[in-house]
Subunit: 450 residues, 2 copies
């Protein structure tokens, strides 16, 4: 392998998300050696993760093995490992499993949740970034209905049937809509002791409207669709505490305490650890949440051979605010850096990165979505179909994801959710705990997808 | 619920496998109250579990939520719980989460693995009964290739590429064939430092041929197909020890030690704990592996209101040996007992249970299977297609399992395996361990399906 790396320009990409993967794909035919490093052996199609969390899709439906995607790129190695340090002078990475030299480094390690300094909320209010997160959410959501089914006390039962989603961004809206469809449609016939329609689904947002990145009229449309689905939306509402399954929310001067067994976190992100590493080793500048300030060409100051792309990058050279942390930005940045690397080898200059905005989409429920595409502001079924096909278009770039379209088609006509399984050690332990009435999160247990 | 149970004849079914589920389906329109108790909230289509273990299907593809399957049966309750004791005099069950009275009890709790008194082999050589088992196998199989890719020492690398399957029954044959297809076809292009074709796949069977329940000529055909696929089959070979990733196998007087990082257990089963409970409480007779001897009508001696069906039942009243522990037997027994219960309520007698043998099928690889159907002994592609459609036929009785046919169709033409994901806490920890060279099984970690 050493021989290989010396044989030509070595491009090392850290992270197999949208940014890193599209950079690697673009470099597949280039006269360089590419190494893609990821902790996981698969690429995750994160925009659909909420459908795993709510039992519509299986993790494998939205995941593709990185080796499979890149197997035809003979200049490309996939390395299952984790980067712990960077030495910009020696142009060397320290991995958990060894060292690796680079000529060009592309950092695309993304972001994780952010509890605004309240990390102790995490066990009670899990976030949604990884497959494991999604499985844990799914286990909690479906176990909550099971626990309610056998809970004799009406107050305790209502707590099992109360779902609080913190954060009114796309993920929060999608989770709230999907849980509402579960409670009010999918599961309606399944229980004997409870009426799942008694479920309360609350979506809490700190700003004055949900989907803040969208035009106000679309936020209003989304709120309207959610309330039709049975979701209660509270804006200008700040969560001040989460403890013993009680969410304390502050709306103006009014303080409310919500007793809810299922609390899902969809608010705020913080940059992955590589940001700090670049700050310490390469003098990179980080913003409040740890994102790395990049030059117009996505390199970092004083290190033209180190690029940061995707959610981890803070790109402020376009429009009035930084580019959002969404897949299309990461994809375009990955492709841009891949081209830049090749042009450099040819001694060609390349223009600054420019993001061509293909619009924003958020789904609320069946036939319900909002879309902001250029001058168009769409909502309802049309936006929903655009959402479906936009996602299928990207999924199809990978291996067998046509299956997702078929799964959706089937679900659409049957309202069925085939993946609503409760699994993992936690699943049964949970049952005992439920019936005892003393709920506690088996945080030490990793969920098991099914 | 108490009112409900007294309102009419209360049938309690323990276990939502093939036996219990088909009994419940059959009783859906009967003038009785039915309660189906299971530890899990889903029915698992176990015959396809090996396809989850080898990355072809997702757990949800072969699992169906029990509530969903039975939601239209208004006389039926699904209870997510576990039975810990039976009181035949009081006709009462003790559950982890309470008590439950019955008029008729149907026990269908199946079997688990049996290490012939060597339970300490289990962490090194996991078996395949639950979804979690399958995910753990999948994690180990795919992680083994990853570990080999980064292992510099050739001997250690070969150990990562050596897969030993203990037990030449249908499950062992199916696992061996599927792993061979992974190593020699699916993954061939995916790695850079290793040639996956250097993998050794050994299938060890104690008797003189694999698939002992089948006619000798089919066993020979199966062995032939396996060797074409690259599987080495050793018959008359007893495993005497499994330790430090070394399998000690005895063939006649020859003793062999096989250094293998992946050892899968497909030999022997033992009855679930309910067998012992029935022995202690109801004086039931158990065989060597704990199966419950039943009367010709599947009840147990002196307790005409307690029935045992499926893998847990030892039914010796037909043919020269007891009925095998396979899905068709369990299904027919479940349906039989459901009819018997109804006839009894009408005061009608009913003939003894008779198993109508629809034949045996085992798949070896793509286009390769063996089938023993009545007088017909088939092998190759025809048997394979019969296998496909026999399984689809049963799957389609549940919710959305047409998706499996589509997934198979796609895989058939692309040789793709979309579900070859490595997940769970174990996945990354594993990486470190791998690179350190000291392999140890994180047995305390539950795998995470994806």
């Amino acid at each position: 392998m050493a021989g290989e790396t010396q044989s030509s320009h070595q491009v090392v990409i850290i992270g197999g998300g949208f940014g890193g993967l599209y950079a690697a794909k673009e470099l597949g035919r280039a006269p360089v050696q590419v190494t893609l490093i990821d902790k996981r052996n698969f690429h995750l199609f994160q925009p659909l993760l909420y459908q795993v969390a709510t039992g519509t899709l299986s993790p494998a439906d939205i995941s593709s093995p990185l080796r499979g995607i890149l197997s035809q790129n003979k200049n490309t190695q996939v390395r299952l490992d984790e980067v712990v340090d960077v030495d910009p002078e020696q142009k060397k990475l320290t991995l958990r499993g060894g060292e690796l030299a680079y000529d060009t480094l592309i950092v695309a390690t993304g972001v994780s949740h952010h509890y605004f300094g309240n990390d102790h909320w995490k066990p009670t209010a899990p976030g949604l970034k990884t497959v494991e997160d999604a499985l844990e959410m799914r286990r909690r959501i479906f176990m909550a209905f099971e626990a309610a089914e056998k809970e004799p006390d009406p107050v305790a039962r209502q707590a099992w049937l109360t779902f609080v989603i913190v954060g009114g961004g796309p993920t929060g809206v999608e989770l709230a809509g999907a849980i509402a469809e579960l409670a009010f449609k999918t599961l309606k016939q399944d229980f004997r002791n409870i009426d799942t329609a008694e479920a309360k689904i609350l979506l809490l947002e700190g700003l004055d409207r949900i989907l803040p990145p969208y035009p106000p009229e679309l936020s209003a449309k989304a709120a309207e669709s959610l309330s039709k689905l049975g979701v209660t939306t509270r804006t200008k509402t700040l969560v001040t505490n989460i403890e013993n399954n009680i969410v304390t929310a502050k709306q103006g001067d009014a303080i409310e305490q919500i007793f809810a067994r299922t609390i899902l976190w969809a608010a705020g992100v913080k940059a992955s650890a590589m940001g700090k590493v670049l700050e310490q080793r390469a003098g990179a500048t980080l913003d409040r949440v740890g994102r790395v300030t990049v030059n117009p060409d996505l390199s970092i100051p004083n290190h033209s051979d180190i690029f940061v792309i995707g959610d981890l990058a803070l790109y402020t050279h376009q429009g009035d605010k930084p580019l959002p942390g969404i897949a299309p930005v990461a994809i375009q940045q990955g492709q841009y850096v891949a081209k830049l690397v090749q042009e450099r080898l040819n001694g060609q200059p390349i223009a600054s990165f420019y993001y061509s905005d293909s619009g924003n989409l958020a789904v609320i429920g069946q036939n319900q979505a909002v879309a902001n595409i250029g001058r168009w502001k769409l909502s309802g079924a049309l936006a929903w179909f655009i959402w479906i096909f936009a996602h299928i278009y990207y999924l199809i770039e990978f291996d067998n994801k046509l299956i997702v379209l078929l799964q959706w088609g089937w679900n659409y006509f049957t309202r069925n959710r085939g993946a609503r399984l409760i699994t993992g050690e936690g699943s049964l332990v949970q049952v005992d705990v439920d019936t005892s009435g003393n709920y506690s999160v088996p945080a030490n247990k990793s969920p098991v997808e099914v």
